[in-house]
Symmetry: C2
Subunit: 316 residues, 2 copies
């Protein structure tokens, strides 16, 4: 199927076309460039929510509950479950099937697991492109769910309009939070499993630690803390409410545009650097670098001047 037809079908919300396009992103298809050019005029509508937290805090359950809440508001919702450690990907994972049960028959929901399967720039590169597919496919809200391990939560936070950090009572989560640096990335904190012992303590400790953070001015955003029992849907409407407030605050102050601009600038820069490296790599087999090396060896050129000529020769 040609790219124009795929994009047209994705725009109508046909799940198979959306799936095909995201697979092309994951596989770094040679037609990706054509896909992105076709998608460009269709994007800019989706509100991107990042959702992260340690294993066991209830990310999948919370995502499912959030999807339900947004569906009740009539929004079309996309979910990208990003697993930086998984070598697998795609909609065939058991996890997806289980999670999709609530929304499997709902044409207003698209759920997809993603892994960095050999993509040059990894998920940091493929995720924004997959977001663009869901955006063009008419999603009003896209939830990017990722395990909070290592750097991945920071990376994903930089791709979202609003970032939700999920915690659960006990397990020294407060201290873990400080360690993981999640205190700097959350626009909204959710203490899930709030029916368990220690939920109040976790929320209080978290509030204390957030207040110790950088000083905030009168117009600054103060990340709220919401308690939920996602498995019963309790508190989830409050989460949506807080997210909508954050979105309104970002739109009013210009923060939303700044975040998105920074995000796109990162993406464009990453593509440019990769393209330049590839062009230099192409020269290795050829005569140009060899001839420059010969001139350096003969002393007629220094290595810096040779590098300049190499760059000029890229036709960049």
């Amino acid at each position: 199927m040609d790219v124009a037809t795929l994009v047209a079908q994705a725009r109508e919300g046909k799940p198979r076309a959306v799936a095909r396009l995201i697979s092309m992103v994951e596989d770094a298809s040679p037609r990706l460039r054509e896909v992105m050019a076709a998608l460009a005029p269709l994007t800019g509508n989706a509100y991107v929510i990042g959702l992260t937290g340690s294993p066991g805090v209830g990310k999948s359950t919370s995502t499912t509950a959030l999807v339900s809440a947004y569906r009740r508001l009539g929004r079309r919702v996309g979910v990208l479950a990003v697993d930086p450690s998984s070598p697998f990907s795609g909609g065939a994972l058991l996890g997806d099937r289980v999670r999709m049960q609530d929304h499997a028959t709902d044409p207003g929901v698209y759920i997809r697991s993603m892994a960095s399967r050999g993509h040059l720039g990894g998920l940091a590169w493929s995720t924004p492109q997959a977001l663009r597919v869901l955006d063009a496919a008419g999603c009003d809200v896209v939830i990017v769910e990722t395990v909070g391990v290592g750097q991945s939560e920071v990376e994903i936070a930089s791709m979202a309009d609003s970032t939700v950090v999920l915690l659960a009572p006990g397990m020294g989560d407060g201290i873990q939070a400080a360690k993981a640096g999640i205190l700097e990335i959350g626009d909204l904190y959710v203490v899930n499993k709030a029916d368990r012992d220690g939920a109040a303590t976790t929320a209080r400790e978290l509030g204390h630690m957030l207040s110790l953070g950088e000083a905030r001015g009168p117009g600054d955003w103060r990340p709220p803390i919401v308690k939920t029992v996602a498995s019963r849907g309790e508190g989830v409407d409050e989460v949506v409410e807080a997210l909508e407030k954050h979105r309104a605050w970002m739109e009013a102050g210009g923060e939303l545009r700044l975040r998105r601009r920074r995000r796109v600038a990162d993406e464009v820069e990453a593509i440019a650097v990769t393209a330049l490296r590839a062009r230099i790599g192409d020269l290795r087999g050829g005569r140009r670098l060899e001839s420059l090396a010969d001139q350096v060896l003969s002393g007629s050129l220094d290595p810096y001047a040779a590098a300049d000529e190499l760059i000029a020769g890229l036709g960049a």
Copy 2:
């Protein structure tokens, strides 16, 4: 002092000028470019010997003995002791003073320790430039001595005309050798401390392992194994003889030119990639990337097309 004067003094072999220039390399001085341009026509004479081995095999003693042997032949000798793990550098290290005792008053010898002190490309970048300083300063032979840990010995081997791998009897060196991949990098193997028990066994095992390596044709170089007691100077003339044979073989078959060309090509490529990254980095503060990001956000441009425009805008 201006670069031209420094280079002129280094060419006369003045140690302080040589030291200043190598410090400029280590510190990634902004005048490095000017230095390299001034040095270019003066280089191409030095024969670069890489010397590597595990801690305790007698690298410093062997280097000192090799310097003495080359001095007896009337050659001017430079030594770069490269320590990838050390945050320090320069001629003030105790190790240098100890090692210089034999050659401290000899104007035909220049010894210098180097570390990668904040240099962007690390030692892989600074070492070739320091070699160029010593080459221009009139060294006929430069010995690059490095600890054989991790990847560093492979990196250093790629910078040398001939690579000497040093071993000592016992300590399961044979097995260690195979593990470290040094069987692929040596043009010459030296079993030092040959007066100790097990020297013959080590040499035999090594010979066996080398013969198991890739098949060699009639005209190929077969790395010889030389036994030394470097502390008494025994066998060191044989090492020099073997090195001179290797050099003659490389010159006759064109291998020397190929190795040097590959080395310089690597260096030029590394400088070019760094320069391109820096140029893109410079754009971050500016209006260009911001304006491209805005066009992507508005949907009038896709990120690949934006990256193309970014590259075109580099003036590369």
